[in-house]
């Protein structure tokens, strides 16, 4: 769980690994799973993309203290209420497990403490049902809870809001237009379901067409598609590595990658988020030392990374990883769930963004859920790899094949992106998304929010820190007609609750301005503008100045380190 959350890392793509990073203090300690380091400033000679800038501004000390205090209060009150419930003073409104004599309870009481006492208070911020297409605007169905979040009822009213929550990067989540028309045709021709797996008479000509198109889109030899994005990872990773193999996994990888790694039976080691030095160290160690105890060499080493990390908004340092892969003969598994379609001048993902050769990536994985407005995922790579997957993939044998309507949505939207529909609509969508991303991020930074991630990532997290502000922001924004996603512990480290905005090509400038106005207002209301880089809009700075920023913060961080450290000691006591 250690991550560079406390750092201001202004990093250029570095190709010189021997170069030391500017750790300003010698103390490093773990606190709540966070590595607290001095600010790193790795501004070095940049290679292919000179504008690779990622910001993870440090948590201000006072805010950190208040945040911990907030959780402490919540936990204490939760304990008191649990006590009141146990002696029967407070009525239990949740649906609790009846006591069956002789049966071991299905859930332990402490397991659901968090759900019962913390999550329940803010439940209305998630699972909001919608009654329309998840486009740039959507209809949220109004819910009420008469028992403080235990149960909800729909009132039947709808509210039209701006949608900054759905992963609709290219705006293909549409109920009209060429894609929807083509899908309608295909449903008339092919029906709804296939009722069979790929290998058991569920292989339509549409599947073959889709595989070919996806391979062309990615620039790889061949590809195979799976009806569910999550299952693309969890059902196929076991085919690539197994016992005696090593998976080096970024610590912030998605649950599906973690499950897939676990199911594969390979040994798993994590490296610090996007930290190439840590990765190289672990790679060197793995190759030189081999397996633990026996010291036999590993059969294979697979580096598992994502294109865009959906909670951080950071972009993987792919050029560095390819270099490491070549040096240490490892394989790369790249999950482009969020980056495919959303990054790069041609919308072909993070490979396109860095101008790299897709053949350098051994396994290109991605989903159709986000940019293409469909559902499912793909795996692309060499012809032999894909043949192997076709023959032995769990998803090709034991699960239904992709339904025709979904295939057609992907084919139609992908053809638009490739310009095969004879228009330049695809290009326009990419450009609009890129413009929206830069504009939205820049405005947020100027307003003084702490914005995480890469300047080109359409996933834009802003930090909220305090637990009370999570629900406040979400509710206040909804009141003003803006639907956003907020996330807190356990999806993020306990201190770094955040709101996440997903930009879309469907957003117009007017919409973004409206959203920004709302965020500005609510941000002032809730005092969310924590950033101390306010006066120096980071995006416009030159490298030198950023270096200064980094060092300036580092002095603060030494103090913060000590404080976090002392808090750790207090906690252990």
């Amino acid at each position: 769980m250690a991550r560079d959350g406390f750092e201001v890392a202004v990093n250029g793509i570095n190709n010189n690994y021997k170069h030391s990073n500017g750790k300003s203090n010698g103390i490093s300690a773990y606190s709540n799973g966070h590595k607290v380091n001095g600010a790193q400033s790795k501004v070095q000679s940049t290679k292919s993309t000179p504008t690779f800038k990622e910001h993870f501004e440090q948590t201000p000390l006072g805010v950190a203290i208040w945040t911990y205090l907030g959780y402490a209060i919540l936990v204490v009150i939760g304990q008191i209420r649990d006590f009141l419930r146990s002696i029967g003073i407070e009525k239990i409104k949740s649906c609790t497990e009846p006591k069956l004599p002789g049966f071991v309870p299905l859930f332990q009481s402490w397991e659901s403490f968090y759900t019962r006492n913390l999550y329940r208070r803010v439940r209305d911020c998630w699972n909001r049902p919608i009654g329309s297409v998840a486009w740039a605007e959507m209809d949220i169905l109004e819910r009420v809870s008469y028992d403080h979040g235990w149960n909800f009822e729909l009132t039947g009213k709808k509210q039209r809001v701006l949608n900054l929550g759905s992963y609709n990067y290219l705006g293909f989540s549409q109920n009209e237009g060429p894609c929807a028309d083509a899908v309608e045709d295909i449903v008339n021709k092919y029906g709804v379901g296939t009722c069979a797996s790929r290998q058991e008479m569920g292989y339509l000509d549409l599947h073959r067409n889709l595989d070919i198109l996806v391979a062309e889109y990615l620039g790889v030899e061949d590809a195979i598609t799976v009806p569910m994005g999550f299952a693309t990872n969890s059902m196929n990773m076991p085919l690539l590595v197994g016992k005696g193999c090593l998976i080096l996994s970024d610590e912030l990888n998605h649950a599906s990658l973690i499950l897939g790694s676990r199911l594969s039976g390979a040994s798993i080691r994590t490296f610090k988020h996007n930290d190439m030095e840590d990765l190289e160290e672990k790679l060197r160690f793995a190759v030189a030392e081999g397996m633990p105890r026996t010291h036999r060499p590993w059969k294979k080493i697979l580096i598992v990374v994502e294109g865009i990390y959906s909670m951080e908004g950071s972009i993987v340092r792919l050029p560095d990883i390819i270099q490491l892969k070549k040096k240490y003969k490892a394989y790369i598994y790249l999950d482009e769930a969020h980056s495919i379609g959303a990054l790069g001048p041609h919308g072909k993902g993070v490979v396109d963004y860095f101008g790299l050769n897709p053949k350098d990536i051994d396994v290109m994985m991605g989903t159709f859920t986000k940019s293409f407005g469909a559902v499912g995922g793909y795996l692309g790579g060499s012809k032999n790899l894909v043949n192997h997957l076709r023959v032995s993939s769990h998803s090709a044998i034991y699960s239904g094949s992709m339904p025709p309507c979904v295939i057609q949505q992907v084919i139609s939207s992908m053809k638009i992106m490739l310009g095969k529909d004879g228009t330049n609509e695809g290009k326009q969508r990419i450009d609009t998304l890129a413009w929206n991303t830069t504009y939205f991020r820049q405005r947020l930074v100027e307003m003084g929010f702490i914005v995480y991630g890469n300047e080109h990532s359409p996933v834009v997290p802003i930090l909220l820190f305090m637990p009370g502000k999570i629900s406040c922001l979400s509710r206040e924004c909804l009141k003003r007609g803006l639907g956003i996603v907020v996330v807190g512990f356990p999806a993020t480290p306990i201190i770094e609750s955040r709101a996440r905005f997903c930009l879309s090509a469907a957003h117009t400038k007017e919409m973004l301005d409206k959203a920004l106005d709302i965020l500005d207002e609510v941000g002032d209301l809730l005092k969310l503008k924590y950033s101390r880089l306010k006066r120096q809009p980071a995006l416009a700075e030159s490298d030198n100045k950023e270096l200064k920023n980094g060092t300036r913060n580092s002095s603060v961080s030494t103090f913060a380190d000590l404080c976090t450290l002392s808090m750790k000691i207090i906690k252990t006591l």
């Binding site: 909001r128 899908v183 709804v192 379901g193 069979a196 797996s197 999550f230 032999n384 769990h394 949505q409």
Partner: protein, 467 residues
């Protein structure tokens, strides 16, 4: 304070020395605990050599383009609707391969509903259920399923395989015990692996073997009551086994459940919508209340003819998955048009239970006919819509038998009856069933069509086996 200082001065020097050591040691623990970089005795040069020497295995084994499975797929490419008839390579064949038991795939009213939804919601939902991926149609489908199954609540997954594979690890954790039938399908097997619990396999549908294991467990629990108090015990079975076409002995299982206090999870992917007078599955077939089952899971990809899956049961059980079901929390929700297609299918089953009677009649007819084919064994219950035809005298070489069966399937396809081999990942299955041709029955088959199927298959068998 002064006293303390005095005490410090008067303390013997060795005492102070030890205390100083202790303080240094604590400091070291606090500040340099990370410094244990895995120490290696290798020099940098040796490391470089090792790195240069190391050759990894290839990522994927060599698979030629003419691998039999690839060939079988390329030779059976379907165009158009896979209904009662299916077009394979331009030839229309009677469809005895896809699990479309009630003809919901290809049903015009199901398609009409899907298109209606498409025009309102588009295709994808572009988000997981938590983040604006919940549409009113998802809630409606969950509601309809719960009502259909007479359960308190249902939860919808976007993918059939992920349903049970996510549900099991949501409840059963490391240290818990799961009793599982050896014949369970692959999705359950993956769920069991993901749970990291202790798995105790009992012989397929052998209740005595199960009881033996349960008694064993009870004895173990008596020895260590403290551990037994926190060890959850589960029993996982399939309603209608896809690998064998037979039913689980549910009344006995329920009896054992109450006797030995285990939680019963029932996977009904094949039986849901098929068995029982209203299609409510094995519980209805055996006339057992769904309340006796802790969790029922099923896929919507077979009889319902859509995509996705669901779990249903008591609210306090099912609700837990909304935060703990990996495939539920971390995956985009089911495309709304597929949800409404499932709603429509459910409505049709509810409205016309007559089709279930037709299906059962067809199943029995086909069962008795197929039993007459020489040189084969037919595995499965007569009322099961899935039947496995195995070779009566299998050779010792599994690959050879698979090839023989593939030839039979190819020949019968050329004669316009589409059948498929039951495919397995041979190395991955817990207990690999014998190779077989899997027949699935459709309620719309007429007697003439059943006759054609029989003659074609029996001819194909005779021709290939006698060769």
């Amino acid at each position: 304070m002064y006293d303390m200082f005095q005490a410090l001065l008067q303390a013997p020097s060795y005492h102070l020395f030890f205390e100083a050591l202790l303080i240094i040691w604590i400091f070291k623990l606090l500040f340099f605990s990370k410094a244990y970089a895995p120490e290696s005795v290798l020099t940098e040069k040796e490391k470089e050599e090792l790195i240069a020497e190391w050759q990894p295995e290839p990522l994927a084994p060599e698979i030629p383009d003419d691998h039999p499975v690839l060939m079988a797929m390329e030779n059976n490419i379907i165009t158009g609707k896979p209904g009662k008839y299916v077009t394979i390579n331009g030839k229309s064949c009677v469809n005895m391969a896809t699990l479309n038991f009630l003809g919901m795939a290809g049903n015009p009213s199901v398609e009409a509903e899907a298109i209606k939804t498409l025009k309102k919601y588009g295709v994808g939902s572009c988000g997981p259920r938590g983040f604006y991926g919940t549409m009113d149609v998802h809630l409606e489908l969950e509601d309809k399923i719960a009502k259909f199954m007479n359960c308190e609540e249902a939860i919808l997954y976007a993918f059939g395989f992920a349903t049970i594979a996510s549900a099991i690890p949501a409840y059963s954790k490391r240290g818990d015990v799961i009793f599982a039938d050896e014949g369970v399908c692959f999705a359950i097997q993956k769920g069991l692996v993901a749970s990291r619990s202790k798995i105790k396999w009992f012989k397929h549908n052998d209740m005595e073997d199960l009881e033996r294991l349960l008694i064993e467990q009870a004895k173990e629990d008596k020895k260590n009551p403290k551990k037994a108090k926190v060890t959850r015990r589960f029993l996982v079975v399939e309603g209608l086994y896809i690998n064998y076409g037979d039913l689980c002995p549910l009344p006995k299982l329920v009896e054992l459940k109450w006797k030995y206090k285990v939680r019963l999870f029932l996977e009904e992917s094949l039986s849901f919508g098929i068995l029982g007078s209203n299609g409510k599955g094995v519980t209805e077939h055996y006339n057992i209340s769904p309340d006796d089952i802790d969790l029922i899971a099923a896929s919507l990809e077979n009889a319902i003819g859509s995509t996705g899956g669901f779990c249903c049961g008591k609210k306090y059980i099912v609700d837990h998955q909304r935060l703990s079901g990996l495939g539920y929390c971390f995956s985009a929700s089911l495309p709304p048009m597929l949800a409404t297609a499932a709603i429509e299918s459910l409505r049709l089953i509810d409205e016309k239970p007559g089709m279930l009677v037709e299906l059962r009649e067809n199943c029995e007819k086909i069962h008795s006919k197929l039993s007459d084919i020489n040189g084969t064994v037919i595995v499965g219950e007569p009322i099961s819509p899935v039947k496995h035809i195995r070779l009566a005298e299998p050779s010792t070489d599994r690959d050879f038998d698979v090839q023989t069966l593939q030839k039979i399937a190819d020949l019968s396809r050329d004669n316009k009856v589409a059948v498929t081999l039951a495919r397995y990942l041979e190395e991955e299955e817990h207990k690999l069933p014998l190779p077989s041709i899997r027949i699935s029955v459709n309620n719309q088959l007429s007697d003439e069509e059943i006759d054609t199927v029989f003659t074609t298959l029996s001819e194909a068998f005779q021709k290939i086996i006698t060769h």
